[in-house]
C-alpha cells in the first residue's frame, strides 16, 4: 500500500516534469479553484465600479458542499448588502453532464423562484462576474490546449465545444504550476479581441489549501470592473447537505452564517 502511494507520487511528479496533458491541467486547476476541502464557507465583498467611477457594494456569504470532488456540488449564497437584496438567497445544485438546478429566494415576497440554467453567462448581481464564474465552468464544456508552460505557469487555451451557448470564442487561463491555481483568465470574442479579463490579486494558503482572497474582473468593452474580497474563509466546517433545501432558503441556517 505504502509502495503504491510512493510510486503514485513519483509518477505524479514525473508526469508534472514531463508536462501534464492539457485536459489534466484543466481538471486539476478546476478542482483547485472550486473543490478544495469537502466543504467551505467565506464572506464575500464585491465592489462594482462602472466607467464613471460610481461604485456599488455587494456583500454575501457563500456555503459550499461537495458531493464528489470535480463533480456534483451545492452552493448557498446568502446576501447581506445592499438593503434591497438583504436575506435574499441564491442556491445552486451543480450537476455534471446536465444543467444545474438554481433557485432564488426573495424574502419580501417569501417566494422561491426557480431560475433557468440557460443564462449562466449573464452577470451575477450586476457585477463583472458571471454566474458561471461563481460556481465554476465545467471542464468538459471546453477543449483544452496547452499553449505554453514557461515562467512557472501553464497557459491553456480553452475553446467551447458548443460555441452557440457562450459569448466568447475562446479564453486563455494561466495556472500557477506550484499551486495549480488559475490566476488569470482572458476572454476573446469572434474577432479575436480581448474583451474581458479576470486576475487573482492575492492568493494565500488557508488550512493547507491555496485560496484566492482578492480577485478582479474587468469588462474591457464597458470599462467597468469588479473587485472581490474573500474573508472568514474556512474549509471542512462540517456543513450538512440538508441546508441546501427550500426549508433553509426560508430560514437561513444561522449556525453556518456568521452573525
Amino acid at each position: 500500500m505504502i509502495g503504491m502511494l510512493i510510486v503514485g507520487y513519483a509518477q505524479g511528479i514525473a508526469g508534472a516534469r514531463a508536462e501534464m496533458g492539457a485536459d489534466e491541467i484543466a481538471r486539476k486547476a478546476y478542482n483547485t479553484a472550486y473543490y478544495e476541502g469537502d466543504d467551505g464557507r467565506a464572506t464575500v465583498e464585491m465592489t462594482l465600479t462602472d466607467r464613471q467611477e460610481r461604485t456599488r457594494k455587494r456583500k454575501f456569504q457563500i456555503l459550499r458542499y461537495d458531493i464528489k470532488d470535480g463533480g456534483r456540488q451545492k452552493y448557498y449564497v446568502y446576501f447581506r448588502e445592499p438593503a434591497d437584496v438583504r436575506e435574499m438567497v441564491y442556491m445552486v445544485w451543480k450537476h455534471v453532464g446536465s444543467d444545474d438546478d438554481r433557485w432564488l429566494y426573495l424574502p419580501a415576497l417569501d417566494l422561491v423562484r426557480r431560475i433557468a440554467a440557460s443564462d449562466k453567462r449573464s452577470s451575477f448581481v450586476g457585477s463583472d462576474f458571471t454566474y458561471e464564474d461563481i460556481s465554476g465552468r465545467s471542464v468538459d464544456l471546453d477543449s483544452h490546449e496547452l499553449v505554453s508552460s514557461e515562467g512557472g505557469k501553464y497557459l491553456l487555451k480553452n475553446t467551447p465545444k458548443d460555441p452557440d451557448l457562450v459569448e466568447f470564442s475562446y479564453y486563455l487561463v494561466s495556472i500557477d504550476k506550484e499551486t495549480m491555481m488559475p490566476v488569470k483568465a482572458e476572454y476573446f470574442d469572434a474577432q479575436g479581441e480581448k474583451y474581458r479579463e479576470i486576475n487573482a490579486l492575492e492568493v494565500k494558503e488557508i488550512q493547507g489549501h491555496p485560496t484566492i482572497i482578492r480577485q478582479r474582473a474587468d469588462d474591457l468593452a464597458a470599462g467597468s470592473h469588479t473587485i472581490v474580497e474573500f474573508s472568514d474563509i474556512e474549509y471542512d466546517v462540517g456543513i450538512s447537505e440538508d441546508i441546501f433545501t427550500e426549508r433553509y432558503l426560508r430560514r437561513a441556517p444561522r449556525r453556518w452564517l456568521d452573525y
Binding site: 417569501d110 426557480r114 431560475i115 440557460s118 450586476g126 444561522r254
Partner: protein, 435 residues
C-alpha cells in the same frame, strides 16, 4: 395641482430626512450588540389618467411610508438556542394623503420561529403565507391578497396581505408538509369604491362613491377558522406539490340579501396539485385547482359562485443579456354550468362557462442591472379585457431607487375582472431610500 405639489414636497422632505438621519452603510443597530434594524422610506404618487367618481377624481396614490424590519434571536435560555428561536418583525408606518393625511401602522410580520424537532419548524404569529407556482396568478394560494395595492402601483410586496396564524412544517424523507392554521379568516382587501371604481352588482354598472353596500365579514368563531395544507417533494429535478384548503372565498362573492345589498364570504374548499421543473431552455410549471363551493354544490344558487376547476401552465426563460420572458395560460371552468344558467334571473351578469387568460412577462435589465424595464400583460380573449403593467425600476445608488410605472386596463364589458376597473388607469412614481 396644489395636492400634487404637496406630494412632491413631501417626497423630497422625506428623502432629505432619510439621507441625513440614516447611516449610508445600510442598516443600524439598537445598542452595541442589539438587533440590526433595516427598512426603507418611500414616497409614492399616482394619478388617474381619466376622471373617476372615486373619493379623489384624478388621484390614486399619495403617500409616504416607513418600513422597519428586524430579526431578534432570544437566547436567554439553552432551550431557545437549541430550538433556534427567532423573532421576526416587519411593520409599516403609512402617512396616507389619499385619506387626508391619515396615519396608519400596518404590522406585516411579528412572529416567533422555533425548531423543536430536527424535522419540524413552527412559525407563530402574524406572517405572510404564500405558495403555488403561478406568476401573479394564484390557484392554490388562497391566502389574503391586497389587489388595491396591486392596481395602484405599490410594491409587489403589498399584494400579499399578512394573516395571524401558525405555520407548522414537517420535513421527512418521503414528503415535506406545511400546515397553515388561521384562526380568524382574513379576506382580501376588496373594492369599496373609495380609491378604485368597479362593477357594482346591485347598481349593475361601474360605480365608486355611489356604492352603498354592506360586506359582512365572517364572525370570529372557531367554525370560521381556516386550514391550508401543502405537501411537496422532488422527483428527480421536478418539484411536485399537493394542496388542500378549507375556509372562505377571499372576495365577498356571495350575496346574503339582495334587497339589503349585503354581501358575504361563502365557504370554500379547494384541492390541487402543481409541478415545476426544467423544460426546454427554461422552467415550466403546471398547476391545477378544484374549488368546491360548499354552499352551492349543486350550482343552482345564483347568489353564490359555482364550483370551479382551474388549470394553469407556464413557461419562463432567461434569454441571456439580462432579458427574461415568461408566458402563462390559465383556464377557468365553471362547473354545473347548466344549473347556473337556469338559475340566473333577468339583469344578472351571465358569466361564460370557460374563461381563458393569457399572461406575458418581459423584463430587460440595463446598466449593470441597475435599470429594470419590464411589462406584465394579462389578456383574456373570452372576457375581452386586458391589463398591462409597464414598469421601470432605476437603482440610482445601492440605497436610492426610483420606480415609474403604469396600470393600464381595458375591457369591452363593464362586468369582467379587468373591464370593471377600466376607469382606474393610472401612472405612478415611487422614490425609495433603503437602509
Amino acid at each position: 395641482m396644489a395636492r400634487l405639489l404637496k406630494g412632491v414636497f413631501a417626497c423630497a422632505a422625506g428623502l432629505c430626512l432619510a439621507g441625513r438621519s440614516v447611516p449610508a452603510e445600510a442598516a443600524f443597530r439598537l445598542g452595541k450588540d442589539g438587533p440590526r434594524i433595516g427598512g426603507f422610506v418611500e414616497a409614492g404618487y399616482g394619478g388617474k389618467l381619466g376622471d373617476d367618481t372615486t373619493k379623489h377624481e384624478d388621484l390614486s396614490m399619495l403617500e409616504q411610508r416607513l418600513q422597519l424590519e428586524t430579526t431578534w434571536y432570544p437566547e436567554f435560555a439553552e432551550v431557545w438556542k437549541d430550538w433556534m428561536a427567532a423573532v421576526n418583525f416587519r411593520g409599516d408606518f403609512l402617512l396616507d394623503e389619499y385619506y387626508g393625511g391619515r396615519a396608519e401602522f400596518e404590522l406585516r410580520e411579528l412572529n416567533l420561529i422555533l425548531s423543536p424537532l430536527s424535522w419540524m419548524d413552527l412559525r407563530m404569529g402574524r406572517q405572510v403565507f404564500t405558495w403555488g407556482t403561478g406568476d401573479y396568478l394564484f390557484l392554490n394560494d388562497l391566502f389574503p391578497k391586497d389587489y388595491i395595492s396591486f392596481y395602484i402601483g405599490r410594491d409587489d410586496e403589498y399584494l400579499k396581505k399578512p394573516s395571524d396564524g401558525v405555520r407548522v412544517s414537517f420535513y421527512t424523507d418521503p414528503v415535506n408538509l406545511d400546515l397553515a392554521l388561521i384562526p380568524v379568516c382574513e379576506p382580501n382587501d376588496f373594492f369599496t369604491g373609495q380609491r378604485l371604481s368597479f362593477y357594482d352588482v346591485f347598481q349593475q354598472r361601474i360605480a365608486a362613491r355611489s356604492v352603498n353596500r354592506t360586506v359582512v365579514e365572517p364572525a370570529r368563531q372557531p367554525e370560521h377558522s381556516e386550514v391550508a395544507m401543502r405537501a411537496y417533494r422532488n422527483f428527480g429535478r421536478y418539484e411536485f406539490a399537493w394542496y388542500a384548503f378549507r375556509g372562505h372565498y377571499k372576495m365577498p362573492r356571495g350575496i346574503l340579501n339582495q334587497m339589503q345589498r349585503r354581501l358575504y364570504f361563502p365557504r370554500l374548499d379547494a384541492y390541487g396539485m402543481s409541478v415545476r421543473g426544467p423544460f426546454y431552455e427554461g422552467i415550466a410549471n403546471a398547476e391545477f385547482a378544484y374549488y368546491h363551493s360548499r354552499e352551492d354544490s349543486a350550482g343552482d344558487n345564483r347568489l353564490i359562485p359555482n364550483s370551479m376547476c382551474k388549470y394553469l401552465v407556464g413557461y419562463d426563460q432567461d434569454l441571456g443579456n439580462d432579458l427574461r420572458i415568461g408566458v402563462q395560460y390559465l383556464l377557468e371552468q365553471r362547473l354545473e354550468y347548466d344549473s347556473y344558467r337556469r338559475a340566473l334571473l333577468p339583469g344578472d351578469v351571465a358569466r361564460d362557462e370557460f374563461r381563458h387568460l393569457l399572461t406575458l412577462r418581459i423584463n430587460q435589465q440595463y446598466w449593470n442591472q441597475t435599470v429594470d424595464a419590464g411589462l406584465f400583460l394579462f389578456f383574456s380573449p373570452s372576457d375581452r379585457d386586458a391589463y398591462l403593467r409597464p414598469k421601470v425600476d432605476y437603482d440610482v445608488t445601492d440605497q436610492l431607487s426610483f420606480t415609474f410605472g403604469a396600470n393600464l386596463i381595458w375591457g369591452e364589458d363593464d362586468s369582467t375582472e379587468f373591464g370593471q376597473l377600466e376607469r382606474n388607469k393610472n401612472v405612478y412614481l415611487r422614490v425609495r431610500y433603503a437602509f
